[in-house]
């Protein structure tokens, strides 16, 4: 099961490496060719050729562009094409990534040649192409499998994030957007935030509420979902598929429609207020300007309505996987239903759903939609460009999108990102499912 992963330092490889290893160091794939591994050698060479073509074609230019961010402003009226700083920044980052990838390939190629050499020294022979291929389906199955996902995540997740981080060090935003040229400004944005006195109170208030929101709504959704799944799992419940179908209805309606629907229901002219006034009461401003805690409570409820079904679904799947022999043993030993739940089901479910809890927590922490749809468009006293139900992500949106301060938004999100990711890493690495992965095997 355990894949070999002993690192060799480049120096050691150069010292111990034979002719072929050194050849590989000089030209990717050459060592493999000399070992007679034609297929693999040619593959490495092909990668190198592609990379060379890319760098000659545009890679070098992109790399230079990353530093200059453009020199010629565009002017459509005079027919001047000009440079687009934002594209240059992104393509520059892509070129860096390509260079890094090439470096990785290169080092993999050297290590591969070195391993082949070691194998020959032990009296083996260089692996044939088919053997390498087989290893990819067996011993190195994980490499085969993870290649595509990692590539995709790198391009569509990591690259945009690196891009945003880079933006935090530029003056992009406000009036400086293409065709205007963007420039690197170093730590100016960070200094600006730190010296603004109105930021800290808003930041503190929103962060506090955001943490409360994330913890409470995660707990609420999780236990409601789990409870529902357990309830449906009881022996006395017949027609499980039927009962489960109702929460599935909620799941079937897209989130934005749900949110708009609820917003309307809780509005002054909505059906709920219609009933209240119909019974002679006064209309309640569920989501209006004074409705701080009512609006927050509605946020919790609506979020639960949206999230509970999927957790229920998941918990159902996981409960199906319980080890029933344990439960039977417990029953024979005279444990009652609650004891069985407390000592067998709960630890099991908690273990296998810790990741869910974490991803739920993250999802809720960054839950943009709820308050954007339910109670957007308000700035409340005591908050800088935010309302008292806004989460950090909504505030960020107000700053960077509504008000156009893109580099400032990127800077703040970088700060928030650092805080929250450290926090969640801390929790995560202390969680049982991370530390004791094999307990339940």
């Amino acid at each position: 099961m355990r894949a070999k992963g002993k690192g060799n330092s480049p120096a050691a490889m150069w010292r111990d490496g034979g002719r072929n290893v050194r050849l590989s160091m000089c030209l990717m794939g050459l060592g493999q060719l000399c070992y007679g591994q034609i297929g693999k050698g040619l593959l490495y060479l092909a990668v190198l050729a592609l990379a060379a073509a890319y760098f000659v074609g545009r890679g070098f230019e992109d790399l230079i562009g990353l530093f200059t961010l453009g020199t010629q402003e565009a002017n459509t009226w005079l027919g001047i094409e000009g440079d687009n700083s934002v594209i240059m920044l992104l393509m520059g980052l892509l070129a860096v990534a390509a260079a890094a990838f090439l470096g990785l390939c290169w080092s993999a190629n050297v290590r591969d040649a070195y391993e082949t050499q070691k194998r020959c020294e032990r009296g083996g022979r260089p692996a044939r192409f088919q053997e390498d291929f087989k290893a990819l389906l067996d011993r190195k199955f994980y490499k085969t499998v993870l290649f595509l996902p990692i590539l995709g995540v790198c391009v569509f997740h990591i690259l945009p994030i690196v891009f945003m981080i880079a933006i935090a060090f530029t003056n992009y935003g406000g009036s400086i957007v293409p065709p205007k040229l963007v420039d690197w400004v170093g730590f100016d944005n960070f200094i600006q935030i730190a010296t603004l006195s109105r930021f800290a109170p808003t930041f503190g208030r929103i962060l506090l509420w955001n943490l409360v929101w994330a913890v409470v709504s995660t707990g609420l959704n999780y236990f409601a979902g789990l409870g529902l799944a357990l309830l449906l799992n009881k022996d006395c419940v017949k027609g499980k598929a039927f009962w489960r179908a109702f929460p599935m209805l909620a799941y079937a309606v897209p989130g934005f429609i749900t949110l708009l629907g609820f917003k309307f229901m809780f509005s002054y002219g909505g059906p709920i207020n219609g009933i209240i006034t119909g019974m002679g009461g006064r209309a309640v401003g569920f989501l209006d300007i004074d409705a701080k805690w009512i609006a927050r409570a509605i946020g919790f409820a609506v979020n639960a309505w949206i999230s509970v079904p999927s957790i229920m679904l998941l918990a159902t799947g996981i409960l199906a996987n319980r080890d029933f022999s344990q439960m039977e043993a417990a029953r024979i030993d005279g444990a009652n239903a609650f004891q069985q739940f407390r000592h067998i089901t709960l630890p099991f479910v908690l273990f296998s759903t810790t990741p869910v809890l974490i991803s739920q927590f993250i999802g809720n922490f960054n839950n943009f939609g709820i308050f954007f749809f339910l109670r957007g468009g308000l700035y409340i006293d005591g908050y800088f460009l935010a309302s008292d139900t806004d989460l950090l992500i909504n505030w960020l949106y107000n700053l960077s999108i509504n008000n156009n301060y893109y580099s400032i938004g990127a800077t703040i999100s970088l700060v928030i990102f650092l805080i929250t990711s450290l926090l969640s890493l801390l929790i995560y690495t202390r969680s049982t499912s991370y530390r004791e992965e094999d307990t339940f095997r």
């Binding site: 099961m1 355990r2 894949a3 992963g5 934002v86 992104l90 199955f141 994980y142 499998v145 996902p149 990692i150 995540v153 391009v155 569509f156 997740h157 990591i158 945009p160 994030i161 945003m164 309830l231 006395c236 419940v237 499980k240 009962w243 179908a245 109702f246 209805l249 909620a250 799941y251 079937a252 309606v253 897209p254 934005f256 429609i257 629907g261 229901m265 059906p271 219609g274 079904p309 679904l313 159902t316 799947g317 996981i318 199906a320 319980r322 080890d323 099991f348 296998s352 990741p355 991803s359 993250i362 960054n366 990711s421 969640s424 890493l425 995560y428 690495t429 499912s433 339940f440 095997r441």
Partner: protein, 278 residues
């Protein structure tokens, strides 16, 4: 003995009472939406209390026949294609990723796990500009395959849940198979995959529903009206088209409900238990 029977009966009654309450909570807003879609007048305000004052089937008829401005059947087809393909590719990638992360120990695994965790903390809309520029550079604007690419590529980020599931499948079967000389590839496809139906169903449904109801990415990448997805199309409806909006929203839920009923048998408990013992 009699006491236990009574307790059991009370338990069953209570259970069902709670279930009925839960079902009511989930059903009611949906019911409201469904009834609204049958509202005769297009407006949300010609309601008496919760329900429309007059009913008619016209909305559904116009939804599918009056396609001059709002081509719902077309949107529906587009969405089905995008969500279907993303679901296929995305589920495969997630399951594979989760399985690998659960079963293999390799250098950099903990790093990968931490990285994916941390990446989720970044506000995604901040990266939209970058995604848009990448897509323009690849010439993937106004192309459905561009969307499928992004959805599928993003799917493995959510592997944690599935990994949690695989962690609970006992590794003892794997060991037994390995003794018999099966490769990891075979162990995965022949042994673990059939055991994982509940999580596969969960994955499939969730990776179908996200593209199915997302409107930010399609709005960003599909400019032509002919390429609209249902979510984008519904958002572009005129002010008084409420009934059409409701009808469109109701209809958008149909495939998911069908998907659920078609796959619900896989949730039946006890399947895996039998497999481990047998």
């Amino acid at each position: 003995m009699k006491n236990r029977k009574v307790a059991k009966a009370i338990d069953a009654v209570l259970t069902h009472l709670v279930l009925i309450a839960v079902c009511f909570v989930f059903l009611f807003p949906c019911l409201w939406l469904i009834l609204a879609s049958f509202s005769k007048s297009g407006s949300i305000y010609s309601f008496e209390g919760f329900f429309p004052s007059a009913y008619s089937l016209d909305t559904f008829r116009t939804l599918f026949t009056d396609t001059e401005m709002y081509n719902y059947p077309r949107w529906f087809g587009n969405t089905l294609f995008i969500a279907g393909m993303s679901c296929l590719i995305g589920s495969l990638l997630v399951i594979l990723t989760a399985y690998t992360m659960s079963r293999f120990q390799f250098r950099g695994k903990k790093f990968l796990m931490k990285t994916t965790l941390v990446l989720g903390m970044f506000p995604s809309f901040m990266g939209m500009i970058a995604v848009y520029i990448i897509m323009t550079q690849f010439g993937l604007i106004n192309r459905m395959c561009g969307l499928i690419l992004i959805y599928s590529a993003g799917a493995p980020m959510g592997y944690l849940t599935q990994k949690g599931f695989f962690d609970t499948i006992s590794a003892s079967i794997d060991e037994a198979a390995r003794m018999d000389g099966a490769t990891n590839f075979q162990i995965f496809f022949k042994i673990n995959l059939p055991l994982s139906m509940p999580i596969i169903v969960y994955t499939a449904i969730s990776s179908f529903t996200f593209p199915w109801s997302d409107f930010i990415l399609p709005k960003l990448l599909l400019k032509e009206k002919d390429l609209y997805t249902v979510a984008v199309g519904l958002m572009s409806l005129g002010d008084t088209e409420f009934a059409r909006f409701a009808a469109g929203s109701v209809f958008i839920g149909v495939p998911i409900v069908i998907l659920y009923f078609a796959l619900s048998r896989f949730f039946v408990s006890g399947m895996a238990a039998g497999a481990v013992k047998g």
